[in-house]
Every structure is written in C-alpha cells, then in structure tokens.
C-alpha cells in the first residue's frame, strides 16, 4: 500500500512532462523574426571540402517540431505560389519536394539559402520579398514533405481536398545529395 503511494510522485511528474512536450509543439511564436545570416554563413553545398572534413555546425530550425509554424509554412507555400512550379510537392516545372533527392542540399540552411538566393533554371530569389521568419516556416514545411521534421508536429490534413498522404504520415526519407559524387 505504501509502495503504491510512493509511485504517485513519478507518475505525476511524467504526466506533467508529457504536457510540457505538448506546449512546445503548440507554441505560437508571434515575436520578432530570427536572423538568417548565420544560416547563409554556415551553409555547406557539397561534401567536397579542402583539408579534410568540414565541421560547420548545422543550423537547428526551431520550427521543425512546432505545429503552428509548420501549418503557417504550408499556408505560405500556397500563398507565395510555390505550388505554381512545385505542385503540392510532387513537382511540375520545378523539381519534386516530396522525394529524397536534393539538388542544393537537404539541411535547413540549404533550403533557406535556396529560397532566399534563388537557383538556376527558374527558382526566383525571394530574399527581401519574404520576411526571414516566414522563410524559416517555409523551410520547415518543405522538409516535412519528405519526413525530415517531427511527424508529431507536421500537418495532418489539407484545407482543400486531400490529394496526397498528409505530411505527418510521410516516412522519414534518407536524403540523397545529387551534387555529391557517388561511388
């Protein structure tokens, strides 16, 4: 009996912790925009690097496990007409985003730079056109299409008719960098 009583504290603590996890997922960040400058500086375009391996730390996009930011990214993906070339992620005149092939890198900082700087053969530069915070939300959403963000936070339905598997059910894919020489 006394033993069962003693078990209560850890059980309650676990329940509280589980709730706190939910807080982070649901946090709505209306604050100032994060700076994207670090992302551009630490970005790596290829595995080829002079003088041994490259140790630049990857940028951690704090929106990767935030449901609100991912949903905002999804809204902006349509608002800013990304769908015009990339479709709903399956691609069109632009490359597909839901597969595991990444021409300019799959890390958050790579996707950020691709959106901000534009890329040859059609991708316009959105730097100065989209606020940095919204670019980060787009980055998180684009990566969610191939399961590279938390599946607990990724959108699980479309506002319009559902044409593909929801992002939250996409299996995590192993990114393949086409710019990296393969054996």
């Amino acid at each position: 009996m006394k033993n069962a009583y003693r078990m209560r504290i850890p059980v309650v603590a676990l329940a509280v912790l589980a709730t706190l996890y939910g807080c982070e997922r649901e946090r709505r960040d209306f604050g100032p925009t994060p700076s994207g400058a670090t992302a551009i500086k630490s970005m790596r375009m290829s595995d080829l690097f002079p003088g041994g391996s490259d140790k630049t730390p990857a940028v951690d996009n704090r929106y990767d496990d935030n449901a609100y930011a991912l949903a905002e990214g999804k809204r902006l993906f349509h608002w800013y007409n990304c769908t015009g070339c990339h479709g709903e992620g399956g691609g069109g005149s632009g490359p597909a985003l839901m597969d595991n092939v990444w021409i300019y890198g799959s890390e958050s900082e790579n996707v950020f730079a691709t959106i901000v700087q534009g890329r040859p053969n059609g991708m316009p530069a959105f730097g100065g056109r989209i606020p940095e915070k919204e670019v980060w939300q787009l980055v998180a959403y684009v990566r969610s299409m191939s399961g590279l963000v938390s599946s607990q936070a990724a959108p699980n339905r479309d506002d319009a008719m559902q044409a593909k598997k929801p992002e939250s059910e996409v299996e995590r894919q192993r990114p393949v960098d086409v710019s990296t020489p393969r054996p």
């Binding site: 604050g31 809204r75 800013y80 100065g128 056109r129 989209i130």
Partner: protein, 322 residues
C-alpha cells in the same frame, strides 16, 4: 474612432425593423409568462399546508381525486401550446417579411470573410466596373443590397445588428443575405462566430450614403491608385512594389498585385485599419506596418524591419491612396 450604430433596438432598415418587432413580441410574451409562473409559484407556497414536528403524513390524500388541480394543469398546457404556436406563427411571418423584400435593382456585393478581415467585391454586369474593397461597405440609402457570403478559412458570421440578422459564413458553402438601409448613417457589424485569436477585432462598417454620394464613392473606388505627388510618396511606392508588401497586397495601377490581403488601392479613404482595430491615421499606419503582431497578435501580416525614413515613405504612399 468613428461613431457607428450597433444596436438591435435601433433598426436602420426595413428588415432590422421586422426583426426588432419580433424581438419585442417575444420579450412581451416571455415577460408575461415569467410573471404568471412566478405568481403561481408564490401563491402555491402561500397556500401550502404548514407541517409541525408532530404532524403525521396524510397518506389518504394520495387516493383523493383533485379535479381543480387537473383542470389547472390542462389549462396551463393549452395556454403554453397556444402561445408557442402563436410565436411560431409570428416567426414564420417575420421570415416571410425578410424574404419578401423586393430585390429589383439590388446592389450585389460578394463578401468574403478571412481571418480576420472582410473582403468586399462590388459586382457589376460590366466587368470593368467591378471593384474590391475591405472591411467597409458603402450602400445607397433605400436600395436593396444582396450579399453573397463566403468564408475562406474557418466559419465566420455576418452580423450588422441595426440592419439585419446573423448569417454564418461556412467555407465551401455560399450563403446569401439581403438588407436595405432606410436611413443614412454608419452601422457597425461584427463577426459573430468565434473564428480564432483576433475574432474580437473583426469589425465591418456599413456606410449608408445618399444615392448621389454613393455613386461618387463608387466612381472613386473604380479609379486606379493616385500617382505619387512627392518624392517621398514615389519612394514609398517603389518600396511597396519591391518589398514584402506586394507579396500579399494589391494596389491597382502599380506592380503590386497580391490577392491574399486587403486591396489597398484606396486605403486612405477608409475609416479604420485592420478591420476596425484602430483609426486610419499616420501614427496608427506606421505602428501597424512596423509590428502588426503587437496590435493584433496572430494576424497573417508579418512585422517588417524598416529604416525610419523608409517607414515614413511607405506611410506617405499609403496616405496618398485616397
């Protein structure tokens, strides 16, 4: 800000009048019924037998027939049913009055609710005479108005208490509402269905103008944006076209053609900013552009980092859009 009528008891049109009359009838009947029920209760309490500690329960009373009580219950049920049927009749009559308003020569406006603002599209058989505005309707006095209601994201509800009753706007479904403003004035409307963080700051103002004044306003709305008169306004326009603003906002006659946010072609002619959240003056405009999240947290418009002179230029440009 602006003085506007927001009161069911001050009808500004024939339909609001009908709704108000129904409301008065319901209030009167309900008051009489409430007083009668309370009086009956008080009487029953007064006449009830008092029991002391020694009183023994009179079980034999349960066997006795009580014709007076049965009669009272039958009369009560009959009166309630008759009153309810009467109210149903009055309600149907009011609905028919609302639907029966002649719609010949009606002004057609398509009103779309967004989180958290109203988009109005004034329809016309000639496509060149269609124009857009936001958060404000101008209607001619005495002319019926037919509103087609749509919602783009979640359920909203259209409600201008002094002009007409509520109507829900449901995504994917088209609703319709008609009204007529019989007295010139400003009527305030409000989203009446909880629609998210800024539901409270989703107002709609209906300006009922004399027909000539309305015609003048409509012609003004049809015109493209005024050309910049000063260097500051020209700089503001350039910033507007090349920066983040044009991604969502449109200003007819410039390169800005975004269709996700309010059309700003004649933004300076409007009475309020951000769906009635604040007055439309230079200070409010600047504050809104720099950090809308401080005024309407959660709104889709992001904060914009601007040098003070750039903010002044954009504000001057927007101020020129009469």
């Amino acid at each position: 800000m602006i003085e506007a009528l927001h009161n069911v008891q001050a009808p500004g049109g024939v339909q609001a009048q009908a709704v108000y009359h129904l409301w008065l009838l319901l209030l009167a009947v309900c008051t009489i019924v409430f007083v009668a029920v309370m009086a009956a209760l008080a009487l029953a309490l007064r006449r009830a037998r008092r029991a002391g500690a020694e009183t023994r329960p009179r079980v034999e009373l349960l066997e006795r027939r009580e014709p007076a009580v049965v009669r009272a219950v039958v009369i009560g049920v009959a009166v309630s049913a008759a009153l309810l049927l009467g109210l149903l009749g009055a309600s149907v009559y009011t609905s028919r009055t609302l639907a029966g308003m002649p719609l010949t020569d009606a002004l057609h406006i398509e009103l779309t609710a967004h989180q958290w603002w109203w988009e109005a599209r004034y329809d016309d058989p000639a496509p060149s005479r269609i124009f857009l505005t936001a958060n404000e309707l101008h209607v001619p006095v005495g002319r019926p108005v037919l509103l087609t209601l749509r919602a783009s994201d979640v359920i909203h509800s259209f409600w201008v208490p002094s002009l007409t009753g509520k109507k829900d706007l449901i995504p994917g479904r088209e609703a319709m509402v008609t009204f007529r403003a019989d007295h010139a004035g400003v009527y305030r409307g409000q989203c009446a269905e909880f629609c998210g963080y800024q539901h409270a700051k989703m107002a709609l103002f209906v300006f009922a103008d004399e027909p000539e004044a309305w015609q003048h306003w409509a012609e003004g709305q049809l015109a493209p944006a005024a050309a910049p008169r000063t260097a500051l306004e020209a700089r503001g326009r350039e910033l507007f076209e090349t920066g983040t603003c044009a991604m969502c906002h449109a200003v007819t006659g410039t390169l800005a053609g975004g269709r996700h946010a309010p059309d700003l072609t004649h933004v300076a002619s409007r009475a309020t900013l951000a769906a009635g959240a604040m007055p439309n003056d230079v200070a409010a405009r600047t504050a809104w552009i720099l950090d809308p999240q401080a005024i309407k947290p959660g709104v889709n418009m992001p904060a914009t980092r601007l040098a003070p002179e750039d903010a002044a230029a954009i504000t001057a440009f927007l101020g020129s859009l009469q």
